[in-house]
């Protein structure tokens, strides 16, 4: 009963949040809010990608930003060259998926343990960071797109509808697209974890040796989830490129680290938790950035303290803790009802 109730409550909250973001915010018409909302939503899809592969398949990728940044760069370069950015977006998502497939193949078929997986994914991301960072010269131009070194590509083109390359989307439309994509990605993840494939992935996280003995080729399932994570990170990278522009910071250590922080703060093993964690942490650092005359409140420092407090105070993360409190409150209400017999029963019991 409590599981059904909890699921219903969860979907209600998601529906309300979606209504707020898709209907109320655009009606308000504040462009700054919508630009920030688009950035937050694109980052939240990145959080979802790690929430899925780490929380449900037990794959701790320390370099999820590699797929995020790669998709961004493929999108920018292909968009500048082709002109039709809708095609560039598909290429970018396909490219990051293919890259995840290749990295995943070596990691899972090499039967590397979890720690090495973390190290290798982080290294891949940092190699991309170093590489892109040194592409400042004229010689680093692909077609008409200069890679731009540490400046990135400020001329990152804006997304258009298919077949209408001359009509770039307005910031409001990018915002709606990003929020819509976040909701779709969330529902996709929800769907995946209840399929046969998703259940097998969860079982493999719990006990890979047992899953093998039951007939599951664990490498195949891990590769599948990891590639799906690469696709989500790719979607996120393309949307981010539309709200900001692509630059090497997409690949750096801070980008990789913050994804893990979002998942831990929001709640590992949940999907909505990391999205909430992402929004809260981004809002916190945005707010800190607007403060004046408080030099001590360096966003990185405050984020570090927030993470530490979360790990110590809410080791399971925000969402699981909230669910636990909700359950306890429900049980309390039920106990109180049982203690107080209803007057109708008393009447019936009389001889």
């Amino acid at each position: 009963m409590s599981i059904v109730l909890r699921a219903a409550a969860g979907y209600c909250v998601v529906a309300l949040a979606s209504f707020y973001a898709l209907v109320l915010v655009p009606q308000g018409g504040d462009v700054t809010v919508m630009i920030n909302g688009a950035i937050y939503s694109s980052y939240a899809i990145l959080a979802l990608s790690l929430a899925l592969i780490w929380g449900y398949a037990g794959i701790l990728s320390f370099g999820q930003a590699a797929f995020f940044g790669l998709a961004g760069y493929i999108y920018a370069v292909a968009g500048l060259n082709i002109g039709d950015t809708a095609i560039a977006a598909l290429l970018a998502i396909g490219g990051s998926a293919a890259f995840a497939l290749v990295v995943g193949y070596f990691v899972f078929w090499g039967r590397l343990s979890d720690v090495y997986l973390g190290v290798i994914t982080l290294t891949v991301s940092l190699i991309l960071y170093r590489f892109i960072n040194q592409t400042a010269g004229e010689e680093w131009t692909i077609g008409v797109a200069p890679l731009g070194g540490f400046n990135g590509i400020p001329a990152t083109p804006i997304l258009t509808w298919f077949g209408r390359p001359d009509e770039p989307l307005m910031p409001e439309q990018i915002y709606l697209l990003s929020v819509g994509a976040l909701i779709l990605c969330y529902l996709l993840c929800r769907l995946v974890i209840i399929t046969r494939f998703g259940r097998a992935a969860i079982a493999i996280r719990e006990n890979p040796a047992r899953a093998e003995l039951l007939g599951y080729d664990t490498r195949l399932y891990k590769l599948g989830v990891f590639t799906l994570g690469g696709i989500l990170a790719g979607v996120s990278g393309v949307l981010f490129a539309n709200s900001v522009f692509v630059s090497p910071t997409m690949f750096n250590l801070q980008s990789n680290g913050q994804i893990i922080i979002w998942v831990i703060v929001g709640g590992l093993g949940t999907l909505a938790g990391p999205v909430i964690g992402c929004f809260l942490m981004l809002a916190l650092s945005t707010w800190l950035g607007t403060l004046e005359g408080v030099a001590w409140a360096d966003p990185n420092l405050v984020m570090g303290v927030a993470l530490t407090l979360c790990v110590v105070g809410l080791p399971r993360g925000l969402l699981p803790t909230a669910a636990m409190i909700g359950d306890a409150a429900l049980a309390g209400i039920r106990r109180m009802r049982e203690r107080r017999p209803s007057p109708v029963q008393t009447v019936e019991e009389r001889p």
């Binding site: 259940r199 719990e206 006990n207 047992r210 093998e212 003995l213 599951y216 080729d217």
Partner: protein, 240 residues
Amino acid sequence: MSIVPLLEAENLVMRFGGVVAVNGVSMSIGEGELRCLVGPNGAGKSTFFKMLSGQLRPSAGDVRLRGRSIVGYPAARIARLGVGVKTQVPSVFDGLSVRASVRVAADAVLPPLLARRRIDEALERMRITHLADQLVVRLAHGQRQLVELAMVVAQRPDLILLDEPAAGMTGEEVERLGDLIVELARSSSVIVVEHDMDFIRRIARTVTVFNQGKVLTEGPAAQALTDPRVLDVYLGRDAA
């Protein structure tokens, strides 16, 4: 009944560095046979099991399932060919419910509609239907053994390998387990590794005795278990 035995092991050898854990074991299991493997600790029983299930690749020798060599196949493939394994320490999915665990097992080899029926059936056969919604991590040791068995049973394998299924169970649970294994042997071939002599006498018809990586003797339970050489290795005296 076919002439080809369900499972044949031929001259299986397993070396770990300089140690020879299994040294030339041959064995043949027919359809619907219930066989017990006994022997002192370190006799090579579990290693032998792991070679049958694909968890270890033998250093030499051959394993044939229905006449087809399966040496070098990954464990998952051997499982899909119809070999179910219950490990010595219960290997279960702690974070899943009992029903979800059995469902994962049924899913691995069956189409969805058939899988659903098998789940209930396996839970009933192990008499753990009342635990279906419990998380496996919350269960007692003996119950975890039954959950693992239910997962194996749900797949209806042709051959079931049980490594010390009675370990850590209470007297009553052991008794029930004995009946269960005899019942399982009606639909599958079963090989059981076990230490508990009373338990073996209750369930087994044929017993194979391992000692120092080799088969010491093989035969009907009553005869094999009273063989003086078998008593010697169990009492720790030199078999020679």
